[in-house]
């Protein structure tokens, strides 16, 4: 069902995929922000489960994690929020970003079943690399959930092809570092996108360090089918929301931030 949503979405054209953390800044508002992002033109959503030790994330997403955990969102609550997001954003593929221990704790099969029933399309566990991914891949396949592998600027060609095999798409980190951090110019990132798009026979998703429409257009031009904007939007949430009274301002501000990424105006 939900994997079909991914295929249908990619047939319609390249997708801008805002990242949002379940429970950030509050459980209800994270559902509201998901709906807002889709109304503002997001073709896909990247959904994070808050985890106490997000070692692959930079400061902005760490802060989002902290807000979500402080607001009481952990895995079980996250499942519920995911279900609500899937209901209010029907037809929009949802890619989950989940640290391995959260999946391991619940059990790979049970986790995959639960999120598939909740409406997720695909799952990426950033700290379960290719060598250790077989049990997770099996669990995803059994549940009808797509599995996504992470690739980096230094991932060699043959390894890239192994990563891509059986992946719903390859999630390419544009920069060598944690999320939200940029080293060097964007031209090298674009060359890398083209290289990966040509060698992998699955769609390429570009993430890490993307914050503008210009970058997104150039990434699509280079062959990416999905562009994820994470830290940029997580930072916006942190800036726009400090107290319940800020809810309206947050939703409006978030809407314009996503619109700036999805439209050429």
């Amino acid at each position: 069902m939900s994997l079909a949503a991914l295929r249908a979405s990619l047939r319609r054209g390249p997708a801008v995929s805002p990242f949002l953390m379940l429970g950030d800044p509050t459980p209800d508002l994270s559902v509201e922000l998901a709906r807002t992002a889709v109304e503002a033109g997001a073709g896909m959503l990247e959904i994070g489960f808050p985890y106490s030790d997000p070692a692959a994330d930079g400061p902005a997403i760490q802060a989002a994690t902290g807000r979500a955990l402080a607001g009481g969102t952990s895995t079980q609550r996250g499942f519920e929020l995911l279900r609500r997001i899937a209901e209010s954003c029907s037809g929009i593929p949802l890619n989950l970003l989940v640290y391995g221990n959260l999946v391991h704790r619940i059990g790979y099969d049970r986790f995959a079943d639960t999120v598939t029933q909740a409406g997720a399309s695909t799952l990426l566990a950033p700290d379960i690399p290719l060598e250790e991914a077989a049990p997770l891949r099996r669990a995803c396949r059994r549940a009808g959930l797509g599995h996504v592998e992470l690739a980096g600027p230094l991932t060699p060609g043959p390894r890239l092809q192994r990563l891509a095999r059986g992946s719903s798409f390859v999630y390419l980190a544009g920069f060598q570092g944690v999320t939200g951090v940029r080293h060097g110019g964007f031209a090298a990132v674009l060359r890398r996108v083209t290289e990966v798009a040509e060698s992998a026979d699955v769609p390429v998703c570009l993430g890490f360090g993307i914050s503008s429409r210009d970058q997104i257009v150039r990434a699509f031009g280079a062959g990416a089918r999905i562009a994820v904007v994470g830290s940029h939007l997580a930072r916006a949430v942190g800036t726009l929301y400090g107290a319940p009274a800020d809810a309206e301002r947050l939703v409006a501000g978030y809407r314009s931030a996503v619109l700036r990424l999805t439209s050429n105006r």
């Binding site: 030790d53 070692a55 692959a56 221990n101 790979y108 049990p135 390894r159 060598q176």
Partner: protein, 398 residues
């Protein structure tokens, strides 16, 4: 379930592996290649031995402890890693890894530290080798261990406060991993314990295994045969795996690791990951960890900052699962009492970490945890100077 989760790279039974982001794979592969190709060479071994003697202060003696033994009712002998440069076994590992980093052409070392012992050891070796050192330390730990921060800075290291998460050791490891992801071409991550993604648990064990090799040889020469029991404290577990390793094949030798029981196992405020934890993925390995029902990592508690870690080296989890080693806990209170006993009976002021191992030996005969007549080899892995301030602040009258 267990077999399907068996890690593929660097497994210890169903534990270990390499659960680290793809972006770290190139660095971990490079390190694994160096471990296989550089460490076994004669040139590397010779240099390591030379520096271990001249700079670290190896070999360390075995010390009989008749008055402590009388108190415990068990004959106890100490392996004196407290006499190493820097005052702890940490020097064995930093020397080996820094030497390897130099062979790999890395000019910058990064490290995490909790109590500041590993950070200090890293700062010292970086100064000796003329390398840059950056130490990540939880903001909370920097306040608790201010003198060690000064010591690291004195040796030329930059100490970066970690303000994320709980602002302690586990967060410092996260931050070091983040740095390494971006800096791997120039930087070696000098992990301080036998944990982390493959190849770290083996790399650190192999540099610490000198403790057990030496002790086994010395015991044969001085006492004949083998000890009945080898005891060590376990936080991440590097001193314990260091002394256990040579004895693992000797089935007659019991191996006992002592974890921090903090305020008591039932209080929930402890760091006893093997005794009370559950399997999970933390800092690159499948191992025993302290976590809640949903997989969030819990903050451990111990009087000893060096044992205050919610995970443990995966090889210990394996030794526990196979029954080759057993793991117990000693509380803060027991450790403090043992700290006092050793100081008063033998004139050795131990660190709070090995005080947990001492506490186990002191109670083991009465509790029946060890049979009468057992001859015990205990890894006295650090000296207590660093803990004096904390100890006196407690206002105990011994």
């Amino acid at each position: 379930m267990k077999s399907s989760l068996r890690p593929r790279r660097g497994a210890f039974g169903s534990f270990g592996g390499r659960f680290a982001p793809e972006l770290l794979t190139p660095a971990l592969e490079e390190l694994e290649t160096a471990r296989r190709e550089i460490v076994p060479t004669k040139a590397f071994r010779d240099e390591l031995d030379r520096e271990a003697r001249a700079w670290v202060g190896r070999p360390t003696p075995l010390t009989s402890a008749p008055r402590f033994s009388a108190r415990a009712g068990l004959e106890t002998v100490f392996k004196r890693e407290d006499l190493l440069h820097g005052g702890a076994h940490k020097a064995n590992n930093v020397l080996g890894q820094a030497l390897l980093a130099r062979h790999m052409g890395k000019s910058r070392l990064i490290a995490e530290t909790g109590a500041g012992q590993h950070g200090t050891a890293t700062a010292m070796i970086a100064a000796r080798f003329g390398m840059q050192a950056v130490i990540y330390m939880g903001e909370k730990d920097m306040e608790r261990q201010a003198p060690n921060v000064k010591r690291m800075e004195l040796c030329g290291a930059e100490v970066i406060p970690v303000t994320a998460g709980a602002r302690t050791l586990k967060d410092a490891i996260n931050e070091a991993l983040r740095d390494w992801t971006a800096s791997l071409s120039t930087t070696h991550y000098l992990l301080g314990t036998a944990a982390g993604p493959h190849p770290f648990p083996r790399l650190v064990r192999d540099f610490q295994a000198v403790i057990g090799r030496e002790a086994k040889r010395q015991w044969r020469r001085e006492f004949g045969g083998l000890p009945d029991v080898v005891v060590a404290c376990v936080g991440g577990g590097s001193n314990a795996i260091g002394i256990f390793h040579a004895f693992v094949p000797e089935q007659s030798v019991r191996l006992v690791g002592v974890e921090p029981g903090g305020a008591g196992l039932d209080s929930g405020r402890h760091g006893a990951t093997l005794v009370r934890g559950t399997p999970g993925l933390l800092h690159g390995a499948r191992t025993m960890i302290l976590q809640d029902d949903e997989g969030q990592i819990l903050e451990p508690h111990s009087i000893s900052a060096g044992l205050d870690y919610p995970g443990v080296g995966p090889e210990h989890a394996h030794l526990q699962e196979t029954g080759r080693a057993s793991y117990v806990a000693a509380t803060d209170e027991e450790a403090l009492a043992a700290f006092e006993v050793l100081s008063a009976t033998e004139g050795i002021v131990p660190a709070f970490e090995p005080s947990h191992a001492l506490a186990f030996v002191l109670r083991a005969r009465e509790s029946g945890e060890l049979p009468a007549g057992s001859r015990v080899l205990l890894n006295l892995c650090g000296r207590g100077d660093k803990d004096l301030e904390t100890y006196f602040a407690l206002g105990r009258s011994s």
